[in-house]
Symmetry: C2
Subunit: 247 residues, 2 copies
């Protein structure tokens, strides 16, 4: 056995070499961050609005916008571009007309400034010692890079759906990530709070770790809870994930 | 002025937000690392060879191999693939016939384990506080990511020629990097020890920082020394670069 293969066999469970992470909801609490950004903007500009509802509406436009790209109604547009299209629509819906183009660009960049869940920074620090850790998000590279720099997320590599010209859960996204990492899909574990994302990763041969984020959509909501047997690992947060993968 | 624009104006010289780094020769001392890898392999396998000459020959095959991709003689092949093709050729030239396919794959991975020049880790740490720092290498994403993890290179983002399907100095590589970072080319400074790379970056509007690496090709060689006026910054190493960009 070559030294390289011997080294690989000591890493993690069953030959996993890399963990790829969903970001919105799994790594960062977009709802709290975007509501706070809205509130600050509202105070600065004298705009009254329900900024939590505004954040939910903005995020709610995300799947339909990606579907428009997938169907060909829109040419390839990265998430910064989609977020901006959705923003213009919901500003109209909320009757907010006073924001300039510059204000809108700046508000749109709030998606680059999302705060992580409390366990994320320490959890990633632990996971990074045994695994290559990378994003695998529908967010674009610039968004993910700026977010990581601000929040101290120590990714080994920033991977994005943008690099395949497809959005998750299209299989091209997962296959491109494994290819760029120089790994077979079974050497990569997708980490996400969303079963649809994990199922798509599994469909191309990746391993899957579910992370419960019950507050993603706010208190009183009940995100889909998968069967604990459906994925390789079922965890409560990134520290729990680190503990389960170390054992 | 928006808060974002105000923040940008405090960053570095003339609105530069990101530094993109050439890697082979500029960040890492490929010649010393690859010679040492060859020596270790030779001892383990009982192979006598001039491993410094072997490293030079391997590196020497790199530009012709990229030219074969550029001309269409080879389909798109990443650097791992090109390094492997070159390796098979020079093993023949050096009369080394005893390496198995597995040995060759492992030796080829030595390019993922190159050591940085002594100033690099501390220099990047300083530069990272004021700028987004990213690779922009002909090395593939996996190679650059593995190298960074092993050597402690704290890139904010790993960018590669591989993401554009072109090799430097093709303009597509530099334009793709700026686009992925969400920046205009004039907000990005290319850092390299090779004038041809800096000239190509300047041709698409990037800024350029020259770093002198007189030992890249070994003692007694004289790499091309550009006119100090040709590029925006002319530096002796990454600590000097940090100092000049901070002033």
């Amino acid at each position: 056995m070559s030294p390289e293969l011997a080294r690989e066999s000591t890493l993690g469970i069953s030959g996993i070499k890399a963990l790829t992470f969903d970001v919105f909801g799994t790594v960062v609490d977009w709802r709290t961050s975007m509501s706070a950004e809205g509130s600050r903007l509202g105070e600065a500009k004298g705009i009254q609005a329900d900024w939590v509802a505004f954040a939910d509406a903005w995020r709610g436009g995300y799947t339909p916008a990606m579907d428009s790209v997938r169907s060909g109604d829109l040419p390839w547009t990265n998430i910064d571009g989609l977020h901006r299209i959705i923003l213009d629509n919901i500003l109209d819906e909320f009757g907010i007309v006073s924001l300039t183009e510059e204000d809108r660009d700046e508000f749109n960049r709030a998606w680059h400034r999302l705060d992580p869940w409390p366990d994320v920074v320490s959890g990633l620090g632990r996971l990074k010692t045994d695994f290559l850790i990378a994003t695998l998000s529908n967010g674009n590279v610039a968004l993910l890079t700026n977010m990581a720099k601000r929040a101290g997320l120590v990714w080994d590599c920033v991977l994005s759906a943008e690099l395949s010209g497809h959005y998750k859960p299209d299989p091209e996204v997962y296959m491109k990530a494994a290819q760029l990492l120089g790994l077979r899909t079974e050497q990569v574990m997708m980490v996400a709070a969303h079963p649809f994302d994990l199922r798509a990763a599994q469909a191309v041969g990746m391993r899957a770790a579910y992370v419960s984020r019950p507050l993603e959509f706010g208190p009183g909501t009940t995100p889909e809870q998968p069967d604990p047997e459906e994925f390789d690992v079922y965890t409560t947060d990134f520290l729990d994930l680190a503990k389960q993968l170390e054992s």
